[in-house]
Symmetry: C2
Subunit: 119 residues, 2 copies
């Protein structure tokens, strides 16, 4: 198991482990944000339900991300299956602005596509 990023320890982009860089290191891995996002939206669910929600994630990667997010304290594996913690929910909410921008992005691309062929 590779080391899990955490504030205070050397991470990608910051040898001193600045919190934001540790966060980037943790969430900047394949499926990390997607898993957290889906887990929040689905509510507590099983490994396989989460795997389904992600459409095409392999169990090995899902397990890695779950382990990392669990050690980070963003999710737990309790009664009703996997679920986000309070901290995890905060992270989810911190991703909401990104969702908003992504829609702006989609519109910007739609406009530039429409304009590039006719004008």
């Amino acid at each position: 198991m590779p080391d899990i990023p955490a504030p205070g320890k050397a991470v990608r982009g910051s040898r001193s482990g600045s919190p934001i860089m540790a966060m980037f290191d943790l969430l900047g891995r394949r499926w990390a944000m997607g898993v957290l996002w889906q887990l929040y939206e689905q509510g507590p669910c099983t490994f396989r339900a989460l795997q389904d929600a992600c459409e095409s994630i392999s169990p090995a990667v899902l397990n890695s991300r779950l382990k990392e997010l669990r050690i980070a304290g963003f999710i737990i594996h309790g009664e009703g299956g996997y679920q986000v913690t309070d901290l995890g929910a905060e992270v989810y909410r911190a991703l909401l602005p990104l969702s908003k921008v992504s829609k702006t992005w989609a519109e910007a691309l739609a406009n530039s596509d429409a304009g590039s062929s006719s004008d």
Copy 2:
């Protein structure tokens, strides 16, 4: 050149290409958020200055991320070197809540570490 994620096209986590999943696919790559973050903080700068700011990014990866972010429309390569676009600045601002949570995370870890040995 591998394909760059964009809303509307099949991406990791969404075959239909939902904007947020496209965003996750784009930003969920090594260094992607870090590069955008540093570029915004540094202001317009050269390839090598940006490489320095990232402490330990290889030129190949930096170039890949820059290409992807450029195609996405988050950054441009103009007069003063590389710099974020208006859309890129919006993405940066959307990452600010994540920075805030990362500090909460750091404190949570510090507290749990302090408590785990004595209690």
